[in-house]
């Protein structure tokens, strides 16, 4: 069973055991527009919750992707470097950014669940 949590910066983290799969939400990709470049960290990088973990660039602008929780990057999605458009087409699936080995699961409780995130997005738009 996996659960997905969300940040106010529109990242998601789908928790599968000790690892969280991180990406940007469908709302985020729709706001960014066509993604043309993604910069991913090296596997092994240790990130703190809220620190910059990756960069995503649309035609218009560059944006940071922040780590939803602290931990070690254990894998990155090389496919989106070659095909950045996957982030627009399938942000929750093939457009994921990186996997983090979660250091402290208690940090997850500080993030929004799906219902709270939906309410948050409604308040944004």
């Amino acid at each position: 069973m996996s659960e997905t949590r969300y940040t106010k910066d529109h990242e998601y983290i789908r928790v599968e055991g000790d690892v969280g799969i991180v990406g940007i939400t469908d709302f985020a990709q729709s706001q960014l527009g066509d993604v043309v470049f993604v910069e991913l960290p090296q596997a092994g990088k240790v990130v703190a919750k809220g620190a910059e973990a990756a960069v995503v660039e649309s035609v218009k602008a560059a944006s940071e992707v922040y780590a939803p929780v602290s931990g070690e990057v254990v894998d990155v999605n090389g496919a989106i470097e070659g095909q950045p458009g996957l982030v627009n087409e399938d942000p929750a699936g093939k457009g994921w950014f990186l996997k983090i080995k979660i250091k402290d699961k208690a940090e997850l409780s500080e993030l929004m669940d799906e219902a709270a995130y939906h309410a948050f997005v409604s308040s944004c738009s």
Partner: protein
């Protein structure tokens, strides 16, 4: 860009309802509520314009007639462009300069007759431009056309589309203008644009703007295009965005706009800041606007520093992004004269990393203007 304050209510163009009905994402731009993109997105809109025909609402731009005795010579006292050599019905790109030769705005000037010019200036500068012109030329009459919309139809099929409606416009050469009656209203048509493609800018009274736009959009080859793609199209064409690539701190020579100043005007001067501009022409400007082709995939944006291979900062990016037609990042910026030659290898500093780039000649994408039948 001198955007209006966040608190000021945004102005709207006569096409505002059409933009919203078309699903546009609206943003504040130069004090106007403007469409940055439609549901297709910037990439698709950009490529559609290069492939077929895009319709842009540029009604936020300033339009005016300037008329009176000796208007040609009088207006030449404000700009370095050769308005005297302009034939009737022809258009020239030029710049309003300050006393230091810095650029107050760039603009299009049409010579309608010996005593009448048509001016189109940037939205963000229009109020100060018109005040400047009225103050400098009190003997002339400045009629600001604030009840006319401006539409741009751009792309390789623009002539085929517009001539169906207005036969004859396909024969107009690039940078020429004429007035055409359509449905009882007078349209001011210029064969010009800001995309590097063939196309037209059409001035239409506010009241008829939406119906005219809808008539154009009824042709399946035409799609609405937002400001996002307008920016990526003009960047590929190597065209300046005022307030970013040129401003009061740059002369036309630094801005690589010497082509817009004729031999006569270079020699005679007679425009604001002529001594500075002539010095830059004679001795070379200390820095120059150049095109930058990046080797990798990461874009460099406005503000990125430009370094030589020793790590010295030699300039700064003024516009940059992903070029949809080239599928790679491009930029323009100012570099010291010693690094301005095409082929020079430089680094653009983005997030602390040095991205390799090469100085290239403008435009990045070949222009396809219609030079004549």
């Amino acid at each position: 860009m001198a955007d209006a304050s966040d608190n000021a209510p945004l102005a709207v163009t006569p096409l505002n309802a059409l933009h919203r009905a078309s699903g546009a994402r609206m943003v504040p731009f130069a004090g106007y509520d403007m469409p940055v993109q439609y549901p297709d997105g910037i990439l698709t809109e950009h490529l559609h314009t290069r492939d077929k025909a895009g319709l842009f609402d540029v009604s936020h731009m300033g339009q005016a007639f300037l008329s009176g005795p000796h208007v040609i010579a009088r207006f030449e006292s404000l700009v370095p462009g050769d308005i005297g050599a302009l034939a009737q019905g022809r258009i020239r790109y030029t710049q309003l300069l300050n006393e230091e030769g810095g650029i107050l705005d760039d603009m299009m000037v049409t010579r309608l007759s010996d005593d009448r010019l048509f001016l189109v200036v940037n939205a963000a500068c229009k109020h100060q431009d018109f005040a400047h012109i009225a103050r400098a030329l009190p003997d002339l009459k400045l009629d600001i056309l604030d009840t006319r919309a401006l539409l741009a139809l751009q792309g390789p099929l623009a002539a085929a589309v517009l001539s169906k409606l207005l036969p004859g416009v396909e024969l107009m050469p690039f940078m020429s203008a004429k007035n055409v009656m359509h449905g009882g209203v007078e349209l001011y048509i210029s064969r010009s644009g800001y995309t590097g493609e063939d196309g037209y800018e059409i001035s239409v009274p506010d009241a008829q703007a939406e119906s005219f736009a809808k008539t154009l959009l009824a042709d399946e080859r035409v799609k609405l295009i937002g400001l996002g793609a307008r920016d990526s199209l003009r960047l590929e064409a190597g065209l300046c965005l005022y307030g970013h690539d040129i401003d009061t701190q740059t002369t036309p020579i630094e801005g690589d706009l010497i082509w817009s100043i004729s031999k006569r005007r270079r020699a005679e001067g007679g425009f604001p800041g002529a001594a500075h501009v002539q010095k830059h022409i004679a001795e070379g400007a200390p820095r120059k606007r150049v095109g930058l082709a990046l080797e990798g995939k990461a874009p460099a944006r406005e503000g990125a520093e430009i370094a030589d291979h020793a790590g010295n900062i030699v300039g700064r990016v003024t516009s940059g992004g992903f070029a949809p037609s080239l599928q790679k990042p491009i930029a323009m910026g100012y570099v010291d004269a010693a690094h301005a030659a095409p082929g020079t290898e430089l680094n653009l500093i983005v997030r602390g990393k040095a991205l390799p780039a090469r100085v290239v000649a403008f435009p990045f994408v070949p222009t396809r203007y219609f030079r004549g039948p």
